[in-house]
Each structure stands twice: as C-alpha cells, then as structure tokens.
C-alpha cells in the first residue's frame, strides 16, 4: 500500500514528488511513457515567465508569480541550469496600448522588475530586433531553464529519497476500495494507494474521469519549434515575445540554457492527444512570425525541429482541487513550467490540510549534484576523476563533448535512462550539430552493455521504437 501515487511524471508531477519526498511517505510515480518528461515537459518554450500574462486574480497568475520567485532556489538545490536572461514583450507602434496594458497587468499581478521601454532603449539592448518595433516591456525576472532537466532532477531527487518510479504504467482504471484506491495499468499491473495526485497533463481529464470527475476537458494545443545551432545562441540575449494573442504568447525567439537559439511555438488546437507531428504550415509560420520580431535570423542554422502539446483546459485557468483524497491538476498549460514549484508547494499545503503527510523524514537529502557537473570542472579536477575512472576521458559525443563516464552515469543514476533519447535528454549526447550521426551506434552499445540487453533491443524511446532489426548474419 502506497501513501501517495502521483500519476504523470512531467515537470509538475516531478516537482510534487520532490516536494513530498521530504515526508516519511511511501510514494510512487506512475508514468505512461518509457521515461519521465515525455509530455508537455519534453517540448516547450523553456521559459520561467515573470507573471504578467495571466489575468489578475487568476490561479495562473498566483502560481506563476510565486513559481517564478521560487525557481532560482529550486534549480540551485536540484543542480539545474537557470539563466535569468530577462524577457522583452515587443510591439510595433500600433500595439503600444497593448504593451502598456501588459505592463499594467504585470504590476497588478505583483511582478517585480518590470520596465516600459521606448524604441531607443529597446534597440540598444537587443541589436538584432526588427527596426520597426517601437516599444517593449522589459521583464527583468524572466529566466530560462531546461524543462526536462528540471523534471529529471526533481524525479531523481525524489527517487534518491525513496520514491518509486513505474514506467510504461498507463493508468486504465481507478477503483475506490473503502479508504484506498486501486490504480490499474493497461498491462495488468496494479497499485494500491491512499491518495492520488493526478498530474497527467493532456490526459488529466481522462484520469479525472476515472475518479468520477467530469468537470473539465483538455484540448491538446500543438506547438512546433525550431532549434538553431549553438553559433546562434547569442543572437538575442533575452527572450523576445511579441504582444500576445488569444492563442498564446505567439512565436518567441529565445536563447536556451544550453546555448542554442529556440524559435516557436505555433499554436494549433487538435484532437489527438499525442500527435506531435511537425507541419509545413508550422515551419512557415515560425519563419514569418519570428522574422517580425528579430531580423536576419540564420534559418539555415536549424539543427532540429520538434513539436510539443500543451494541456489547454476548458476553464482557461489552472484547476487545482482535492476531493476524497484525489488531488486533480488540470489545464496546466503555459506557464506550467514556471508555476511547477508553486503548484508543488500548493499541493503540499492541500495534502497537509487533509492530514495526508505526517512527519518529515530525518534522512531527507535536499541537494542534488548537477547532472552536468563534470563539464563544469577544472582541468585538474577532471583529471582526478579520469584517473579513478578512465571512462571520463573518453569522448563519445564529439559535438557536445560528452564522455562515456557521463553516459554511464545517465544509465545508472535516478531516474536511469533506458533508451537513446533518454540518454540524450540527460547528457545532451546526440543533441549537437550532427544530431547523433556519429555517436548513436556507440551510445546504443553502452545502453546494451549497462542494462545487459541485446544490441538490437535498444530503442529510441521505448515501446516499438526499435533502432536495429537484428544481426546482419547469424551467430558463430
């Protein structure tokens, strides 16, 4: 019997797990995919929003402003890269009133560090902007993080503190038995738990329905992105938004914490909850809209494109509620990443209110070693490590400079990677300019070796995503 089962290992579920791991609870995280951070967390804009977007008085506004305030400490504690790079909401002359309105709303939401900029100041800050832009809102608290890095660290820290992660656990039914719940997976596994946290992202409405709650629906909103080579990472220093529309914050141009340049997202409402296709229209929209704000973007430096789904709720605000021991989190669309620490704190408060938490652990370890610590070390420190473990002297991914030691670490530390994409998200191996062309056969070898599985059983991202069909010729 578990005390708490968290359904969905995205950044929200992960932050909740990390927050609850300090209590003396038997905790499990149930994830439908073969790895954590596979839903909206895998592919989004990676922005810690300052909090000027959401309507005054909304739960979104409250969570965003609080989450943004907490983010620096949370990322420091979990060893996750965080860059307070600031953001600009830019506008043409005819949009001046809208930019002003956003500024006012930010003030009303309690966002600190906002400033209205005139043309000259704006272009002095960011020389690559479209010269026709005449005004902007500067948000000095806006920052960037890597969403899956944060999720991996949060889940990893929860696991290091005793939480269990069950992968490929697609919840198919939830039954109430007296004071407890039985959560059933599609493959027949079951989990008994006293409390449930539904952080199932685009599937949160389906999971809610299994607990008898049909109050809201989630419409997946597709967002396509393009990622440019690291040579372009300094093209803009700040995150550049355009004045927002009903469908979201428009196409942004932003550096990433890893030094690439990110363009996107588009916004298309769809029915299929896992249709992450990119489209020709999407590419065209990104080219056109990004160019409205930033001039001469080197589109020939695109190294990859991808698509993520945002969980857009029917109520247009975050839904966070508790009933009969089930905490439901619905409609956690943008700014879900920014809000995640605050949502976790709020869930902790709700669970405390129904006496679900009990005493804190004495053994809880709050700090986590950064996943990328090796790269930050000095030459002498690296040589110390290489002397003890030669695998750290062997570069596998030449574009990103990732060593065998770091890849083995990703395959053996919580939450361990099991496939090629899992290694990529944890180490950046294969994420550079050659996109895994050189290193993927070697990474496949390492996965097979570390997990003791045949070479041909290694997948790209679990399930049927096989990479090789078997040997070219029989064994001898």
């Amino acid at each position: 019997m578990y005390d708490i089962a968290i359904i969905g290992a995205g950044v929200v579920g992960g932050m909740i797990a990390d927050t609850l791991a300090k209590y003396d609870l038997k905790l499990c995280i149930l994830e439908k995919e073969s790895d954590v951070a596979m839903g909206a967390t895998r592919a989004n804009s990676a922005i810690v929003h300052a909090g000027f977007d959401a309507a005054e008085g909304s739960l979104k506004a409250r969570m965003n402003v609080r989450g943004s305030e907490m983010m620096k400490d949370v990322t420091t504690r979990l060893g996750v890269k965080y860059n307070n790079n600031e953001a600009l909401v830019v506008g043409f002359e005819h949009e001046r009133d809208e930019v002003k309105a956003i500024y006012e709303r930010g003030l009303a939401n309690g966002v600190k560090g906002l400033k209205f900029l005139e043309s000259e100041e704006l272009h002095a800050l960011e020389p690559h902007l479209n010269k026709d832009l005449t005004c902007a809102l500067l948000a000095t608290t806006s920052a960037i993080v890597c969403p899956y890095e944060l999720c991996l660290a949060a889940v990893g820290n929860a696991m290091d503190n005793g939480a269990e992660l069950m992968l490929d656990f697609e919840v198919s039914a939830i039954d109430k038995n007296g004071d407890a719940y039985t959560v059933k997976a599609a493959d027949g596994r079951t989990v008994e738990t006293k409390y449930i946290i539904n952080s199932a992202g685009v599937y949160s409405d389906k999971v809610a329905a299994m607990t008898g709650d049909a109050d809201f629906t989630i419409t997946p909103r597709r967002g396509e992105y393009m990622l440019l080579d690291k040579e372009c990472g300094n093209f803009t220093q700040r995150t550049i938004f355009h004045t927002p529309t009903k469908m979201g914050k428009g196409i942004l141009v932003s550096p990433t914490v890893d030094g690439n340049l990110l363009l996107g997202p588009t916004a298309t409402d769809i029915d299929d909850k896992d249709d992450t296709s990119t489209t020709a229209e999407g590419f065209a929209t990104i080219f056109a809209k990004a160019s409205d704000n930033v001039a001469d973007i080197p589109f020939n430096k695109v190294i990859t494109s991808f698509c993520g789904l945002r969980a857009t709720g029917s109520t247009h605000d975050f839904i966070i509620k508790e009933k009969d021991g089930v905490v439901t989190l619905g409609g956690i669309e943008s700014p879900g990443l920014s809000s995640a620490p605050a949502i976790a704190e709020y869930v902790e408060e709700i669970l405390g209110g129904i006496n679900a938490l009990g005493a804190k652990k004495t053994s809880y370890k709050a700090e986590r070693r950064p996943a990328h610590y090796f790269r930050e070390l000095s030459m002498a420190e690296k040589n110390e490590i290489i002397k003890k473990n030669p695998a750290y002297g062997k570069i596998v991914c030449r574009c990103e400079g990732i060593t065998e030691g770091e890849i083995v670490e990703a395959l053996t530390t919580n939450p361990a990677a099991h496939d090629l994409d899992g290694v990529k998200r944890r180490t950046r191996s294969g994420m550079g300019r050659c996109q895994g062309g050189f290193c993927s056969p070697t990474v496949v070898e390492l996965i097979a070796r570390e997990h003791g599985i045949p070479f041909e059983s290694v997948t790209k991202f679990g399930k049927g995503s096989i990479i090789n069909y078997g040997k070219t010729k029989g064994d001898n």
């Binding site: 070219t472 010729k473 029989g474 064994d475 001898n476």
Partner: protein, 117 residues
Amino acid sequence: MIRELTCIVCPKGCQLKVELEGKNILSVSGYTCKRGLAYAETECTAPMRTLTTTAPVEGGGVVPVKTDKPVPKELLFKCMEVVNSACVAKDAKLGDVVVENILDTGANIVTTRNVQL
C-alpha cells in the same frame, strides 16, 4: 542495337556506346582507356562485379571481406549466402582467405582488414 553503359572501372564514369548484333559486339565507343573497352565487352556478354560485404567472426561481430576478383553479377546474392554462413577466425589478418573459390567462380573471399585492431 546500340547499348549505352556507364563505365564503372574508375570514378570518371565514361559513357560507353556498344553496337551489338545479338551477342556479337560490332563496335565500342566512348571509352578513354583499355580497361573501359574491356568493361564494355564483358558487360555486354557476361557482366562481372566485385562483391564487398562483411563476414561473421568467430565469437561475434563482423569483419569486412571482398571477392579477390570479380564474380558473375548474377551470383552476387548466392555469394552473400555463402559468406553469411562462413566464419572468420578471431586472429585473421588482412588478405586471409575466408572462402576459397566461391561457387566455383575462381574468386576467393578474403578479409579486407585484420580482425584485431
């Protein structure tokens, strides 16, 4: 009948024209070296190819191999079957014979590198 060929003897890839009457070659044009002429002639009568592939190594893995001279083109897949069921010794060196006189073609399958690096 005129048959047009791309010479595969060297990277120049000369465009050859072969005038044929049944199986008899009346003339060849477009070649720029003697080997090109020879290629045109065999290609129109009995086309030959060098096979390059890999062979299984004792204890696992593969090593690159080739036929040490061209074999009839229509035998390529049959040669593959033979090579795929061969077994190369762990200590084989570049040039070692893996299959002798494969399918009676007169060609041997030889390794093209040392198994041990």
